[in-house]
């Protein structure tokens, strides 16, 4: 059995004392920072990324980063349940019933079932990843520049479909992101584009500065405008563990959520978000008491949380096999790999099997640690969240500034957050979601590069994208997605699905 051999190799790599230790540190730090309101997984990883730069072994560094990722994701779910503040778009659904459970004093069971569901989903997700990554990497070797370009088009269209609000705005935001990605030295000609003779800009705009400005700072400004007090239910958290009756309804939801997440998570452009929405809809459909949804139904937490975690696991597949990040978090993982001189892509599995399988097994270990760590700590997270916002936000601001500075040890990146904070604020006021822009920004240079190569090979004939079967299939999928969202019936349903989850 190849799969078993591979997993054994992974276990041997991830199971060394040093790797276990860093995985644990990653999970702890990720949870600790991710649980802060306003700091989602993206900002958490961005802040903690520099901590891994100095590690000599890239395997250890990536294992720690994966730990941070899971910790941050679970931390995001915690804030979603306790203060109705989703750390990222995929935990939006969790706020619906999770927050209601917390209001009824059932925050403990909600947090516990989220942790248990995430662990089960993570286990299945890891196995799926281990089983499907090698055959997909085989396919990836058949990819030429045209296929890569078409795949990125599909990924970007996927992000557009999943964005809230107007499709036109999301499309424009993607293009905006691609354009911002053009800033910096052009690899082919060596010309520094749109850099206005600023030396720091010739390396391009720092991703973390864009992400922190547009998400972190803009969010703080918007929160401060509202001047309302956030409710927290510290005193009421009683009875940490779910009752037997809770398990009986939650377990099937976890199983279904895991299945949905594993299927949809592989889609480029945020499959985890789609999976959590789909899971919520399905749980509501199959439930005998659909009227309880929105009022604290435990299935409404268990299903989407599992789907979200399985989806997050699967989003590693395109990153590891194709080297293409399908969401901003994966883009950071790619950046981290490049810093350690590893070019992500199908060759990683063959040239660096220890790293590849070690990382996969460490994901499962990370998920296990997460459960063990978080079940006893739930009480503490609740206390951390009871810190008033007026004390919390300067701290968040500080951590963002420190994180941003430490990427290049340069204050220029801190200054760069300012225009992006303004931009992020304006976009929010104009109902333009920043997530598609961020993905465009990440893919901009890659996309141009593959377009150029494909067009050079075809001698300027654009039909190459439609005559190669793989490329044509990918583009057709993107086209169908786009048509679907523009259909009046679907666009109405889509508006309903996203309504009221801001």
């Amino acid at each position: 059995m190849d799969l078993l051999n591979n997993l054994a190799l992974g276990l041997a790599t991830a199971g060394t004392l040093i790797n276990l230790m860093y995985c644990f540190i990653g999970v702890v730090l990720g949870t600790l920072i991710g649980v802060l309101p306003g700091i989602g997984p993206l900002a958490t990883i961005a802040m903690l990324l520099p901590a891994t730069y100095k590690m000599t072994d890239p395997t250890t560094a990536l294992i720690m980063l994966a730990g941070i990722y899971y910790g941050a994701q679970y931390g995001g779910s915690t804030t979603a349940i306790l203060v109705n503040l989703p750390g990222e778009s995929s935990s939006v659904v969790t706020t619906i019933d999770g927050y209601q459970m917390a209001r009824k004093g059932r925050a403990g069971p909600a947090l516990a079932i989220a942790a248990i569901g995430s662990f089960i989903a993570g286990t299945v997700g890891t196995l799926m990843l281990a089983a499907f990554a090698p055959p997909l990497a085989e396919v990836a070797f058949k990819f030429g520049p045209a296929e890569y370009f078409s795949l990125m088009v599909l990924g970007l269209i996927g992000a557009v479909v999943l964005a809230h609000g107007s499709v036109l705005k999301a499309l424009a935001m993607v293009v905006f992101g691609l354009l911002l990605g053009m800033v910096g030295t052009d690899v082919n000609s060596g010309v520094a584009r749109f850099s206005f003779d600023v030396p720091e800009l010739s390396d391009g705009i720092e991703f973390v500065a864009v992400a922190m400005g547009m998400f972190g700072f803009a969010e703080i400004i918007l929160n401060l405008e509202q001047k309302e007090k956030r409710e927290v239910f510290t005193s009421k958290v009683t009875g940490l563990f779910p009752r037997w009756a809770d398990f009986k309804v939650a377990l099937p939801a976890i199983v279904r959520g895991t299945g949905i997440g594993s299927l949809l998570g592989i889609l480029p452009g945020g499959g985890a978000v789609l999976a959590s929405f789909a899971s919520y809809a399905i749980e509501k459909k199959v439930s005998k008491t659909p009227e309880e949804f929105g009022k604290g139904a435990i299935q409404g937490v268990a299903g989407p949380e599992s789907a979200n975690n399985a989806g997050a696991q699967m989003s590693f597949i395109p990153m590891l096999t194709l080297g293409i990040p399908t969401n901003p978090v994966m883009a950071l993982m790619v950046a981290a790999m490049m810093i350690h001189n590893i070019q992500p892509g199908p060759q990683v599995m063959t040239s660096n099997p220890k790293l590849f399988w070690g990382l996969i097994v460490s994901m499962w270990i990370g998920n296990l640690m997460l459960v063990v760590l978080n079940l006893p700590l739930i009480g503490l997270w609740v206390k951390l969240l009871s810190v008033p916002y007026r004390i919390m936000y300067p701290a968040i601001l500080l951590f963002c500034c420190i994180g941003c500075y430490s990427i290049n040890n340069n204050v220029f990146d801190v200054f760069m957050t300012i225009p992006f904070a303004i931009l992020g604020y304006i976009f929010k006021k104009l109902d333009c979601e920043p997530a598609p822009m961020l993905l465009g920004f990440v893919l901009g240079k890659l996309m141009e590069e593959y377009l150029r190569r494909a067009m050079t090979i075809s001698r300027g004939d654009p039909t190459v994208f439609f005559t190669r079967p793989l490329s044509a299939t990918l583009l057709a999928m993107a086209f169908v997605l786009l048509i679907i969202v523009f259909l009046p019936a679907i666009s109405k349903k889509r508006a309903e699905a996203f309504a009221g989850d801001d």
Binding site: S166, M182, V191, R390, P394, L397, S406, D431
Partner: protein, 153 residues
């Protein structure tokens, strides 16, 4: 002409202006041909697409059938204070060091809240200073100029 959907209208304007701006800026770079694209090719095309998308947003927003959507009030004071705090932090970090710039950041940014209070801000600044020192300077060993430059000489 009346702008009915203000959010769509202004985002349309933003996209058209930015798209055209990128097209103009790209003119200084070689355009090339489809088979041999110069550095100006892709940005010019993208700028064009963005401008078109902007127009598609902008035009329906002034039609009579469009629903009326207003842009929410913009709170310049909050934006100003928060971004000033970030700018001061970035400007003072290299010369005045970690301690001073941290305290400045916390105090300036705290003023953006309507519940600003000197005493709690001072306490949280000290707590954050100790926390950041232990975590970022000692723990993660991030490289910061720690004390003001004139003190370290």
């Amino acid at each position: 002409m009346k702008i009915r959907n203000q959010r769509d209208f202004w985002s349309g304007v933003l996209f058209v202006v930015t798209g055209v701006l990128f097209m103009i800026l790209s003119r200084q770079y070689q355009f090339g041909t489809a088979a041999k694209m110069g550095p100006g090719y892709f940005p010019t095309v993208l700028g064009g697409i963005m401008a078109v998308l902007g127009l598609m947003l902008l035009i329906p927003a002034i039609s009579r059938r469009s629903p009326e959507v207003k842009v929410e009030r913009i709170d310049l004071k909050v934006i100003g204070i928060i971004l000033l705090a970030v700018a001061v932090y970035a400007a003072t970090l290299p010369s005045l060091g970690f301690i001073v710039s941290l305290i400045l950041l916390i105090f300036i940014s705290s003023m953006a809240s309507h519940e600003f209070n000197v005493k709690t801000t001072a306490i949280s600044a000290v707590a954050l200073l100790i926390f950041s020192y232990l975590v970022f300077v000692k723990g993660l060993e991030l490289q910061f100029p720690f004390l003001p430059v004139f003190l370290t000489r």
